[in-house]
Chain length 127, copies 4
Amino acid sequence: MLKIEFDKAQPIYLQIIDQIKKALARGSLNPGDKLPSQRELALTLGVNPNTIQRVYREMEQMGLTETLRGQGTYIKQGDDLVKMVRSEMVNTVAENFINEMLALGCSKEEIMTLVKQLLDKSIKLKG
Amino acid sequence: MLKIEFDKAQPIYLQIIDQIKKALARGSLNPGDKLPSQRELALTLGVNPNTIQRVYREMEQMGLTETLRGQGTYIKQGDDLVKMVRSEMVNTVAENFINEMLALGCSKEEIMTLVKQLLDKSIKLKG
Amino acid sequence: MLKIEFDKAQPIYLQIIDQIKKALARGSLNPGDKLPSQRELALTLGVNPNTIQRVYREMEQMGLTETLRGQGTYIKQGDDLVKMVRSEMVNTVAENFINEMLALGCSKEEIMTLVKQLLDKSIKLKG
Amino acid sequence: MLKIEFDKAQPIYLQIIDQIKKALARGSLNPGDKLPSQRELALTLGVNPNTIQRVYREMEQMGLTETLRGQGTYIKQGDDLVKMVRSEMVNTVAENFINEMLALGCSKEEIMTLVKQLLDKSIKLKG
DNA sequence: GTGGTCTAGACCACC
DNA sequence: GTGGTCTAGACCACC
């Protein structure tokens, strides 16, 4: 039988949090950096300010950011933070990958081989 | 600075084609199988019939299906077909994965180790 | 000089959370009890449903409640929960009291005497 | 079942009178002190002048203040006055406290112990 | 019916 | 200008 489920996109606020976490993990955002104001980010992303409010509130509750009233929102200081976020993102991405590959009927060997192959290719492109 | 772009969801018709390809790759759909009628599928998915018509048209152009007048639409016969679709899906998924991991600053070794680790774990869960 | 600050009432959502915590501490609400639906409570209190949504969300994040989609929100099971909430509420109330009394210029002795006095009186009323 | 009643904020004029009484009890306002003019206080507090008029009228009826034509409004002389106001405020605060604690299921001993504990702590902080 | 997300927009508090 | 709270109301997902 044919069964189709649409990519029910995750909630917007979670997608934005994920993007910010990835920016942290990549190093394009660093501890101490000031995030754009809620209004500014809402405009940039074409999203309602309340949605960004929730993004910032949840990030603060997670201990990712620090919000100073009347001043703005900052990435929290602390070396561990980046490490933890990076390892979290890396794991999530890898788990999703494995699950997709297994669903496509790939064997363990097939997956390992393909990953090795693609890594060699992409490193040659850079080097 | 912070720059965010949403995963603008692909057009619906491409998403549907993708799902059908994945079903083929997984084996939940096989060469010779009859696809639901356009009307039926449109109803099932709650999608405009024109969208489904485009799905079927494009799949036929790709050589994925063949339509027999008055009878319906079938997955084309041929062993190679499944292999090709599967290999196409697998490659796309894996390339996206590698790119994301490299963007997160992972080294080749890190990626290999993590993939091996997760594979061992997920295989134990099944076995 | 004369300086007056109004009781800037706490945010409504915090007041409601506090009331629910007090109900738990008093025993008029117990682990396992179902809370009214968001819409119902919003109507009862004459408050916007979004405000109640936040109340329920925050309580879940605190570990106070458990929310089952499509079913409702329940006070979490666990003996410790009531004890912890009760002790938290008791402390908050007492600290506020002490601070108010000290601001009114009461000495330690004065406070102790007055509390003892009032306790004796109120217990006679009951007993 | 869950029943919630908001602290319906007292009328503004009562809140203001309360603040003035507390200032007297604390000693930040003393017998003989001149109160600001009604117009000035209304401006300072961002409140309707009629509200302030009621505040001053009621305070005079309570014997708290006296108004000298063309001169202004003063806190009445007399030692007893401060003592009475202070004792009134202190009693109200303490009674509310006891009632809340009993409603939370605290025993007499529990209340006494906690109050003593918090007093010791807060006095250490100062000393 | 129950909870979850989102938009639009007002108003407040702190700076 | 920056964040925080709240209302009004739409629409979705799960039951």
